[in-house]
């Protein structure tokens, strides 16, 4: 079952119903609490990294990866119903996972074939981003393209979210025995001056030296 070659209409139907069930069933908290909890985690990591914001965000990204992998591993059993090995089904699986994790629909998601310069990638944008909401009133820490060194490091304030999705994605890709592994970055971030939030998943063949 885990090695299904392609997701069909029934799996899509199950995924679209199932994500609402999992979201409904999940223990929840106020988004306000979550956003301030994350801000304080970042503050601690910045202090631990001697005020080096990119180092703190990298640390946060790694923590996210581990958390995402753990969460996805626990959901692999029921998730099997909608998984496939086909890389073109990943947008569907990401949409379901995103909704289960964050309760928000991804409105726009695109699959991009491999080019001469870039690996296979999937990009998705969000209508709104709750993760950095606490920063509106933050006075001590400044997160922008310069302080996060986004152009060099690809790190953003949403790095923990990108990490969590990357961890979850790789747990699924391993489970379906996909020949690919993924890396996810927030490629547009409000804090970095972009007009909206966008995430990109890059896919590399396990045996290649692409990355």
């Amino acid at each position: 079952m885990a090695e299904r070659e392609k997701v069909g209409w029934f799996q899509r139907f199950l995924g679209n119903i199932g994500k609402h069930f999992y979201w409904w069933k999940a223990k929840k908290m106020s988004a306000l609490m979550m956003t301030y909890d994350f801000l304080e985690c970042v503050r601690i990591l910045v202090e631990l990294n001697n005020n080096d914001i990119p180092a703190a965000l990298e640390d946060f990204r790694e923590i996210g990866k581990s958390a995402g992998y753990t969460v996805a591993t626990e959901l692999l059993g029921p998730g099997e119903l909608i998984f496939s090995r086909n890389i073109k089904d990943v947008p569907f699986m990401l949409k379901v996972a995103w909704f289960i994790f964050f309760g928000e629909e991804i409105k726009s998601i695109k699959f991009h074939d491999k080019t001469d310069t870039e690996p296979i990638k999937i990009t998705w944008t969000l209508d709104r981003c709750i993760f950095c909401a606490a920063l509106k009133k933050e006075k001590e820490l400044v997160f922008n393209r310069e302080t996060m060194k986004t152009d060099e490091t690809k790190l953003t304030y949403g790095s923990v979210v990108a990490g969590a999705m990357e961890g979850a994605l790789n747990a699924i890709l391993e489970y379906v025995k996909s020949p690919y592994y993924g890396k996810i970055y927030e490629t547009k971030c409000l804090q970095a001056g972009d007009p909206f939030s966008e995430y990109t998943a890059y896919f590399y063949e396990k045996d290649s030296n692409e990355n």
Binding site: W23, A26, K27, K28, M29, S30, A31, L32, M33, M34, T35, Y36, D37, F38, L39, E40, C41, R43, I44, L45, L48, D59, I63, G64, S66, A67, G68, T70, V71, I100, F101, F102, G103, L126, D127, R128, C129, I130, A133, A134, K136, K137, E138, V160, A164, L190, P195, F196, S197
Partner: protein, 161 residues
């Protein structure tokens, strides 16, 4: 800009799932770097969260310490806060059997939910600005699932009337 508004943020809920996983990793780093100051760091963590949240939300019912604690728990953690007053009339006890911060942590040397105690302390003491009849309080976290107890306990000491 697609930034979220304060009104939207107050309305939205999110999964608890990632919070304890991420928090426990951060606490592990705190223990590693500041082994002698863990409690102080965790109290500061909760105070800062409280201060931040208070800039956007404040309990509506500030009649008593109990009502503030219950409303805060309900709004932020989406759960009931069983609070009872001790016979001395100067101590309230909050027992939490579903603590998120202590989720799956066992045999810890610290109460992982210490931030909730300092968060509640920050909330109640801030509400004194709008209701001067409220007493000043101090919250001590005395039991936690992380430390092996069957529930987490925050003791709310009333310091003055």
């Amino acid at each position: 800009m697609w930034e979220i508004t304060e009104e939207e943020l107050l309305r939205l809920k999110c999964q608890q799932l990632f919070v304890p996983l991420i928090y426990s990793e951060v606490v592990a780093r705190i223990i590693d770097r500041w082994p002698d100051n863990v409690e102080k760091k965790l109290r500061e963590f909760g105070r800062r969260i409280g201060k931040g949240i208070l800039s956007m939300w404040i309990p509506k019912n500030t009649d008593s310490v109990k009502s503030i604690v219950q409303e805060t728990y309900k709004f932020l953690l989406k759960q009931k806060a069983p609070v009872e007053m001790k016979k001395d009339g100067r101590t309230l006890i909050l027992r939490d059997k579903k603590c998120i911060l202590c989720w799956e942590v066992t045999n810890a040397n610290f109460h992982y939910c210490t931030p909730y105690g300092s968060l509640l302390e920050t909330f109640v003491n801030k509400c004194r600005e709008t209701n001067p009849k409220l007493p000043k309080i101090w919250v001590e976290t005395t039991k936690s699932r992380a430390k092996g107890d069957s529930y987490c306990e925050h003791v709310i000491h009333i310091l003055e009337e």
